[in-house]
Symmetry: C2
Subunit: 191 residues, 2 copies
DNA sequence: TTCATTTGATAACAAATGTTATCGCATGCT
DNA sequence: AGCATGCGATAACATTTGTTATCAAATGAA
């Protein structure tokens, strides 16, 4: 799982092995709740196989805000960083194979690697990039119609279209399942 | 302008004076474009007096995404950081008194202060906080009705309601001016 | 296989929001 | 003061999106 990332990290063999030893592997079925709404997030997950969504409970309706697939890391990030109760829940969509690390262990690692300027700068750039991604996502949400956003998904994130049940996609797009069906059938007519 | 921030920065008197000498002061009327769409952002502004909006041109309609008031710093941040042409424009709403610094000078300062762990960590936390603010903003956008979002603005950012013309507020809420008028008149009926 | 459950499509109707046009008030300029 | 302009309210109508209900197909468990 981790060897593919080995050469990205300028670390000694010892440190590398120490760091990956902090991770545990689990296999879970679909619809496993990894973090409940209101809980404090204490684990960061990395997906070996499967997919995960992050969602908010909004008056009983669920509102999916993010999807994650293989090799991505997942946490309710604000809860994880600041030890706040999470507003969001984290749940598998498919049966999944996951690796996770406890926050305490990750904090140890981060404390150590931030003395390495190269890694430190990369971390900062990641944070910036995440901000920019949110901005882009948000602007598209106000700018584009649901139909256009659906087309964007097809172009930019085909995995979502292929692997995620449609009602989750609808909530991600901010529309009802009924309306997403209408969008799809209109798009088919035009072709 | 800067003396109120003096004690937040653990810097020598010399460095402090050097850093603030990089800033210039300008006075501009309302509706002054500080950055055009498509330009690369090379200045960071700090508002002494007045207010500013950041907006996107979307098929001729403008879409305001952010408002800034006294003591806040403003730039088209992705353009400024990465030297990309800016998708957004930056424009004064009121006649304003601004201070600005060129990116080159700011980069020099940042390069120096990031060796100070305290300042460096604060910078990183700022970036995280900005990410969290965007997430919150975004979630509210999908979760809440325009009327609810308008009520949130009254509660959380009364400056916007008081100082910003209504058509900018409408575009910020993602609705037309007509619809915002309807929202306001319905809220009045209920009281 | 068989049955229950999940998922998705569609129709009919309701509610929310956009579009266009008109009016009036306030503001700033000369 | 007088006038143009910007801003906001409102009405009538159009379009988009939500709600509820029903049905069909796919999927999963016994």
């Amino acid at each position: 799982m981790f060897s593919q990332f080995r050469n990205e990290f300028p670390l000694s063999e010892e440190k590398w092995n120490e760091y990956i030893s902090y991770f545990d592997r689990i296999e879970v079925p679909a619809k496993t709740i990894l973090l409940k709404e209101g809980e404090i997030s204490k684990k960061l997950f990395i997906i070996e196989k499967g997919c995960i969504r992050v969602w908010f409970n909004n008056n009983g309706k669920d509102l999916t805000t993010q999807f994650f697939f293989e090799n991505q890391s997942v946490a309710s990030i604000e809860s994880f960083m600041k030890k706040f109760p999470s507003q969001a829940a984290v749940e598998t969509i498919e049966p999944s194979v996951l690796w996770y690390i406890h926050k305490n262990d990750l904090d140890k690692i981060l404390e150590e690697i931030k003395e390495i300027p190269d890694l430190r700068d990369r971390l900062i750039n990641m944070l910036f990039q995440r901000t920019f991604d949110y901005m882009k996502y948000f602007v598209s949400f106000i700018k584009d119609s649901p139909a256009q956003r659906y087309l964007n998904l097809i172009e930019e994130r085909p995995q979502i279209i292929q692997r995620v049940p449609q009602h989750y996609i609808a909530s991600y797009l901010g529309v009802t399942t009924v309306h997403l069906s209408r969008i799809k059938s209109k798009l088919l007519q035009k072709k």
